[in-house]
């Protein structure tokens, strides 16, 4: 039966028309298919690259932490703040000052790449000292100075958040009393120095007392918000002529 059916099917094709230029046409179709496939490969490659780029961008944006001192240190610009109310540095410094009935306000020049300075005023508006904050990058480590020995490094205190710090107080000169804390975040070496200076030239130990105690300065300096309050790439590593001159300088070895 199969052979008969085969013959029947073959005979059904008896009226087959001539194939014409089938060879040339097939060749054209082959070329067209190859071109189309090449285009598809190129498009697929482009799409894959675009997806990888977008995915990489999205992942880095989502996963990487915000302030990366070293990687983006090339652009050091002070971060514009809409007002002192929104100043994140002030948000850290203000509570202990306000608790004493004092006011803290930016003091012109109030800001630079890696530093801020604020004036502390009494209720009647008379000045009561200065608070200066500077940030540094010290990934390679930091020698916390010892006042009594310029060649020694202090053994730092350490907070639970992984910030090591050293406190300094120099109140011997009643006309220039200083409380200073240098705090370094060990995970990335971001270092903050906060220096509170009493009003100078008062001739009185009480009138020239710094507006913040060493404990309060330490609390502010070790507050993680303070280091994060500075913009990416802001730092006072040398040379930084505009940065404040601290009583105990930070010797960041980068």
């Amino acid at each position: 039966m199969s052979a008969v059916l085969t013959e029947v099917l073959v005979r059904a094709c008896a009226g087959e028309p001539p194939s014409g230029d089938a060879g040339a046409d097939i060749e054209r179709r082959v070329q067209r298919l190859r071109r189309r496939r090449a285009r598809s490969v190129v498009l697929a490659g482009g799409a894959a690259v675009a997806i990888i780029v977008l995915l990489g961008y999205a992942l880095t944006t989502v996963l990487l932490p915000g302030p990366k001192p070293r990687s983006t240190a090339a652009v050091a610009v002070p971060q514009p703040r809409p007002s002192s109310v929104l100043d994140p540095v002030l948000a850290v410094l203000a509570p202990p000052v306000d608790a004493k009935g004092l006011r803290i306000v930016p003091r012109q020049p109030a800001t630079g790449p890696g530093w801020r300075q604020y004036a502390v005023l009494r209720a009647d508006g008379t000045p009561h000292g200065l608070v200066e904050v500077a940030v540094y990058d010290a990934q390679a480590g930091l020698c916390l100075p010892v006042l009594a020995d310029p060649n020694a490094c202090a053994l730092p205190d350490r907070t639970r958040a992984g910030i090591e710090y050293a406190r300094y107080a120099d109140t011997a000169d009643v006309d220039w009393q200083v409380h200073e804390v240098i705090a370094r975040r060990t995970v990335d070496g971001r270092t903050v120095a906060v220096m509170a200076t009493g009003e100078r030239g008062t001739g009185s130990a009480e009138a020239g007392e710094p507006p913040l105690s060493t404990v309060e300065v330490a609390q502010a300096a070790t507050d993680p918000r303070l280091a994060d309050a500075f913009g990416v790439g802001e730092r006072c590593n040398l040379p930084a002529p505009a940065c404040p001159i601290l009583m105990v300088p930070v010797r960041a070895s980068d």
Binding site: M1, S2, V4, L5, T6, E7, V8, L9, V10, R11, A12, C13, A14, G15, E16, P17, S19, A22, G23, D25, I26, R29, V30, R32, L33, R34, R37
Partner: protein, 145 residues
């Protein structure tokens, strides 16, 4: 070229339209020539050709009617009768008949080409042969050729 001619005839049996059959056969041959990794190009070509008919489903179904006997030759009448019988079958059944009895594929090759089980191929073949029984009975005594 020989493969093209054979594919064209198989396509004609599937669709009953020489123009469409010619176009599909040319496309299939072109695709075979551009496929880099094909183990069995002949079988791949049959599978590709039959897959092409899925896109043309609904076209030329049951359009074959016997022409007036006076206006046609014996071969033409035979062709129309065969095509009409083929197109009375389901597309898969028709494909099984064409692949098995026109293209000469084995059951497993037909199953591969149509992505069916061997048992389904056998069932379709039996169904198709049953439908052709009447036509074959008239063809056999006459010697067909």
């Amino acid at each position: 070229m020989e493969q093209y001619v054979h594919l064209r005839r198989a396509a004609f049996l599937m669709c009953g339209d020489w123009i469409l059959a010619d176009d599909l056969a040319r496309t299939t041959v072109a695709r075979v020539l551009t496929e880099a990794d094909v183990a069995d190009p002949e079988l791949w070509a049959y599978a590709d050709l039959m897959a092409a008919f899925k896109k043309h489903r609904g076209r030329r179904e049951h359009v074959f009617v016997a022409p007036r006997a006076a206006a046609t030759s014996g071969d033409s009448v035979h062709t129309v009768l065969v095509l009409d019988a083929l197109h009375g079958l389901t597309p898969r059944c028709r494909a099984v008949l064409v692949l098995r009895h026109f293209c000469g594929l084995a059951i497993d090759e037909t199953a591969d080409a149509l992505d069916l089980d061997d048992s389904r191929v056998l069932a379709f073949e039996a169904e198709g042969l049953g439908a052709f029984a009447g036509l074959l009975a008239t063809a056999r005594p006459a010697g067909v050729r």
